[in-house]
Symmetry: C2
Subunit: 402 residues, 2 copies
DNA sequence: GCTATTTCGTCATGCCGATTTACAAATTAG
DNA sequence: CTAATTTGTAAATCGGCATGACGAAATAGC
């Protein structure tokens, strides 16, 4: 017994279930599903060895999952190995679907993702939402949702839930937008204005972006810092494959980390916050540009053209980001830092100075900084996938519907 | 179904066990124990209602735990309520004991804690360890351990494990001290030099201090930042009742968070790290004092006497701490910040400026800052309790020994 | 004081779910 | 073509919790 004595934070899917036989069954259903999801088509025997149950037990679990429409039998495998070939199992492409939606400053987007993680339907509507009241915007969004759901149903899917990404702070009830500065929304309960026939989850777009990064990659890293920028600079902290939300749900406010303790005052009451150096408005001002509508696009365009003022502004922003991230990295020791969301478009001009600063301030190898492959569509995908994950984490809750 | 769809990080004791019937049994044994620990003497029926099992099931679990020597029957309760009184159950005072040890710069300490959490035996040896090689120090420590274990055994306890708190970085194997600057130890495997008959865990003293704060209080908060100071400044991040360790186990390096990006250079390669403003050496220098042996005591003494230079140095250190903590609080949104370890002795002079700075930089109510009740003995208690927690989290592993 | 009521702990029974054991089916190795 | 190997399923078994009933020990009401 030399293993670590105390498990600090054991984790795994569906652990909120009671420790009774039904709970055990439900967790084992989830484990079968996760094994199949993680390692492609798998035979019953392969699943059994992966999750530590016997073939017989897995057989009954698989039967139940097939009857529920969550698993599909692909037919016999054709391998070169000795012995009877197994029958390949895969997540169903005709079962529940996760509906993801995104409310952006300049667009609305909706998509449907099946259990396998492939996007089966999508709809986008360009148009500025800044300052529009929630009612009309959500009416438009509802329209898009109806279209996407209809298309998904046409392919044999049924919607298991709706997750909405918003550019702002969301209360812990996962329904109410506390503050969305870009939209000028305050204390709005989206549940009242969206289809009531779907279970609803609302969350910050940065959080969903981080979850997308976590779920759509190769499974590593499980500990990272996901930085994205809206009007301010938000970060999501992923620890051991889960989102760190904080007591009030406000974790990740990287924009108000002090970078220059006696710098210019900030709306938050502090001085020299990162936002004053690397926030959208600050960078535009430093570059000598007027606040425009497509702000990020404008910056990226000018920088690509070679505008030296813009490039310098972005370099300086990268340096400031590096200072703030040095603090965060020292505190959290993440495996990596990922630049996501709108920031990914500016990465070519931010990254060099950011990496420099981080390396300069680190003894030994610096924390690697990468750019999200998903870019601006991370939040939408993360939202849709969060619904899918919920199904995979506890298949019993949706099995009845099938 | 309006509950949050996805559980980000479900947690609980002993969740690494397989989802089989034996695993279920083991987890339920742990849940009984935790219920009794958390809510004092409890009848079988009370436990059953707490953990959601039936009285019959709890009866068999309790029988097993009593046979193993982990629970004790105190006899019939004498309540004013109607109905047959239950038989009160309590954690055993004659079962397994957690042995905690601390290697400090100027002392060695060992204690034994029983399942109830009361310290049953202790031994301290004053004497400077700075620069001494590990061999002799650990020989002395072994001697203390033998004494404490013998005394505990005299009271009917048997040692379930040994946890050692060291002032330095510990590798993830929980045995090897990577770097302990105060002792001048490097890459030392303590397992080779300590009693081999006890399961061993080694960890940083700041981590154990934070765990003590978590376990010995009233159970709240479960999310906080525990700041302690050795030669540098270490912090431990507690999230949802568990320690955040980081990929390499280096999380919590608050001392190297930049507070003044163009400040003086630091050994870590950075500039203006917190350590340059609030580290022990920096404060001594700022106060115009020579590095003495009992550094903290010296500072506290002078400050109490009214030495204005010392007080100013501590005020400034508090301000710098406030800047660094502003960043940490923005990133993590903890419920509170706790000053522990040696820092608690200096709190009266650090706190005012620290709180000021934090409040100045925060919109809305600032994160509350408190001082650990445990003070300098937190790490030792945390170490001993970590062994006890391991037993409570999985009683089956030790039950055989009884 | 006596009885009804309430609660506790335990026992016998049953159910659920995973394991064990056995076997037929389907493939490869020789 | 036979032996070996692996898969999937069926029957029997076992472990563990739930259910329901019961005696025990207290209070409440008469």
């Amino acid at each position: 017994m030399t293993a670590p004595l105390h498990e600090d934070r054991p984790a795994g899917p569906g652990r909120a279930l009671p420790d009774t036989q039904q709970g055990m069954r439900r967790r084992n259903l989830a484990r079968v599903l996760h094994a199949v999801r993680a390692e492609g088509p798998l035979s019953r025997a392969a699943v059994a060895s992966r999750i530590g149950l016997t073939r017989a037990a897995v057989s009954t679990l698989v039967d139940e999952l097939i009857r529920s429409g969550l698993l599909e039998e692909l037919g016999p495998e054709r391998p070169g190995r000795v012995g009877r070939p197994g029958s390949a199992l895969a997540l169903s492409g005709r079962g529940p679907a996760g509906i993801g939606a995104e409310i952006g400053v300049d667009h609305l987007a909706v998509c449907a993702v099946d259990l396998r993680g492939t996007t089966r339907s999508r709809a986008i509507r360009q148009g500025l939402n800044r300052g529009r009241s929630p009612g009309p915007v959500l009416a438009e969004l509802t329209e898009l949702i109806r279209r996407v759901v209809a298309e998904a149903e046409g392919e044999g899917l049924w919607p298991a839930g709706l997750a909405v990404a918003v550019p702002g702070l969301v209360a812990r009830d996962a329904r109410t937008v506390v503050r969305a500065p870009n939209l000028d929304w305050h204390d709005t309960d989206l549940g009242d204005l969206l289809p009531a026939d779907l279970p609803l989850t609302v969350d910050n777009e940065a959080n969903f972006g981080a979850l997308a990064e976590l779920w759509l990659g190769d499974g590593t890293p499980r500990d990272f810092l996901h930085v994205s920028a809206e009007i301010g600079i938000g970060a999501a902290v992923v620890v051991d494959g889960g989102l760190l939300r904080g007591t009030r749900g406000f974790a990740g406010e990287l924009g108000h980390v002090p970078v220059q303790p006696d710098g210019p005052g900030c709306a938050c009451g502090g001085r020299g916050c990162l936002e004053q150096y690397a926030g959208e408005e600050a960078v535009l001002r430093a570059a000598g540009l007027e606040p425009d509508e497509d702000r990020v696009g404008l910056l990226a365009g000018r920088a690509a053209e070679g505008d030296e003022d813009v490039r310098r502004a972005l370099r300086d922003a990268g340096t400031a980001l590096g200072v703030a991230l040095t603090g965060a990295v020292n505190l959290l020791d993440p495996e990596s830092v990922v630049l996501g969301g709108e920031l990914s478009g500016l990465a070519p001009w931010l990254l060099p100075s950011l990496r420099d600063e981080l390396a300069r301030r680190t003894a030994g190898p610096a924390c690697p900084v990468s750019v999200s492959r998903l870019g601006p569509q991370g939040p939408l995908l993360g939202a849709a996938h969060s619904v899918v994950r919920a199904v995979l984490d506890d298949p019993a809750t949706v099995a009845e519907r099938a």
